[in-house]
Symmetry: C2
Subunit: 201 residues, 2 copies
Amino acid sequence: MSEGSRLPASVRTLSVERRLERGEVLFRKDDTAIGLYAVEVGHISLCRVDANGRETILHTAGPGDLVAEASLFSPRYHCDAVVLSDARVRLYPKKALLAEFKRDPSAAEAFMAMLARELMDLRTRLEQRNLRSASARVEHHLALNTEADGRTVTLHGTIKDLAAEIGLTHEALYRTLNKLQAAGTIARTKGTITLTKKPDV
Amino acid sequence: MSEGSRLPASVRTLSVERRLERGEVLFRKDDTAIGLYAVEVGHISLCRVDANGRETILHTAGPGDLVAEASLFSPRYHCDAVVLSDARVRLYPKKALLAEFKRDPSAAEAFMAMLARELMDLRTRLEQRNLRSASARVEHHLALNTEADGRTVTLHGTIKDLAAEIGLTHEALYRTLNKLQAAGTIARTKGTITLTKKPDV
DNA sequence: CGGCGTTTTGAGAGAGCTCAACATCGGTGG
DNA sequence: CCACCGATGTTGAGCTCTCTCAAAACGCCG
């Protein structure tokens, strides 16, 4: 889902690996919060069950994502965490983490920085979702994901993955890429997309 | 835009108010990062300009939103901040903020907690945007914004505001609310929407 | 009463989703 | 080496849903 900004190495030693099968429950709402998790493999669904018993998904976390950061500052979890597909996660016990933060302020700062960076990223993604047309979304994504040269975008997964990331069906994405290519906005090679310089009207 | 989780009171005294008119620039990419801003009135647009000179909007911050939290951990800003509509913002100088965090770890913790909470909120919002149908979005929003009773949702602005918040046109929202009401899913009064108990099939 | 913004309803069109079929590419095993 | 298989990539056609543009009813305030 996300590229996964790593937790500082100093706190990684405090973590515990855990493997889970689909359907298992990582934690439930109102369970005592023992820490946050980093998803390494698989998917975890965070959801809440309403008065009618229907569940509402808050978020689906994939490899590289953190789960329940807020549990660090709360005695209990605020939603259920269910394993969607066989997963490997890493538990960072909150006690150890908070102690480490107190012991080493730079670790705390690194964690804050990580949260802040992820916030930025999410806001940008949300902004992207406000764009309705497929081409606008694609261009938005491309414009913000170029290499240093400002024109080349390296694809890190399949086109289907990209489609999911930007909230389009893969068919729509294929067609949009074709249109953009035909229009001369982009050029494609095996694993990259290049933005071609547009004349300034 | 958001409800606006406040910064801890202890750091508020470190802040400086500033008023800006539409079109003014709060900061530019690569400017020295002097701190983060809290938007109190108006809107700030965060954007980046690509190689072709076209700007891409990363985020639009409104009252209650923080801007450039990541600047705390970076020597320079990473995008432009332009005033969209006459605004009042509050600058929290990073030096003072970081010093305060070091002096009082609980302030640091409170800040972290705030970031974590906002992350949760944003992820949920992004999840909501993955729902394509208007009714699904509305129900998602309602299910997650009930009062303690789990059934009543208090509207804090106009319906138009709500429409913008969940990413629909106001027309679509009106029609959807009508449908849900006709279907018996919700009931409406002046400033509230109530979820009516659904029979469990 | 007149004006302004919200609420509401109507009609039409476009864009992406859905379903479906087919091509392509790697990997696997006979 | 070739047949097979699954997943990705690609294209087609129809449909639904929301957006857009328009207009009218409503409520609030000066």
